[in-house]
Symmetry: C2
Subunit: 152 residues, 2 copies
DNA sequence: TCGCACATAGTAATAATTACTATCTGCGAA
DNA sequence: TTCGCAGATAGTAATTATTACTATGTGCGA
């Protein structure tokens, strides 16, 4: 284990989280969780696999998939809804919303009280019980707009 | 072609749509479009393939995928954001929102003026240009709740 | 120290999606 | 009408993403 005070405390949180949910905080799981938390870009399993491999060279892709599924089941991480491409994960389980770039598929988190306070219309309450509200803003991120301008 | 007045007029619309976007309204494409529009449940390619096969027995799965990609590119249909499972399509390209059942993954459309009027916060405008706002309500639909109650 | 339950690595299997190629079809020009 | 061409399709192969399987490994309590 590398010396790192901040990650140490992060690990301690993770261990507590696991205890609460009755899952074992193994070395591999700790590293997968850490790798996910270290990113803002909602990576997929393959990307996390590559990242974790740096620190745990023997880890297998299956373990990454299996662990992410477990984490999701236990509410430690969330899947990001995407249109088509591979499944992606979000370490941020606080209430938040997403800005999705339709060009490069980058997903950025953001917070907004107005969105959180949205009241669900009557017609929907009739369809079922609503647990959460997620707002997805779609558009073109600054990076992609810059590239578009270059091309023209 | 089966006799059906309502579908005839629908076809005419489809043909107009295609002309506008410079794509050929072939028999297969017409049937795929019709099959998608006939459903409320945001089917995937495989499901549409099965449905279209009834009317065009020789159609190939590739054609369905290819056609749906084309339709999406041309803005005739939209992909539905899903968490993990196969990609699904929506023939409704009017502004609307989704209620997603976290158990059975059914997706239901709904309309709401309040949601449509949502103003995007300043912090996000800085991330890029926003084209559209989609609200996703997650919960358990009535059918699934009934089943849960049965089990207990 | 032993035994057991759970985790993991490595790989095989499955499922979803895309690519390839030969054939087909409709349309405009001769 | 016939010819030639561009685009579309069917059938299948290839690729990619995800899950399943199995033998081995590991930590922990008795």
């Amino acid at each position: 284990m590398q010396p790192s005070d901040s990650s140490q405390s992060g690990d301690r949180d993770f261990i507590t989280c696991c205890r609460e949910r009755g899952i074992k905080p193994t070395h591999q799981r700790t590293e997968i969780y850490r790798a996910l938390m270290a990113r803002e870009d909602h990576p997929n399993a393959e990307t996390l696999y590559a990242a974790v491999k740096e620190r745990v060279p023997t880890i297998s892709l299956d373990t990454v998939y299996r662990t992410l599924r477990l984490f999701e089941e236990k509410g430690l991480v969330a899947r990001v809804s995407t249109a088509g491409d591979s499944m992606r994960f979000d370490g941020n389980i606080n209430r938040h919303h997403h800005f999705v770039c339709v060009q490069c598929h980058k997903v950025r988190d953001f917070y907004d009280d107005d969105f959180d306070r949205l009241k669900t219309p009557q017609t929907i309450s009739r369809l079922g019980e609503i647990d959460s509200v997620h707002v997805e803003l779609r558009g073109v991120c600054n990076d992609c707009q810059r590239q578009k301008r270059k091309k023209t």
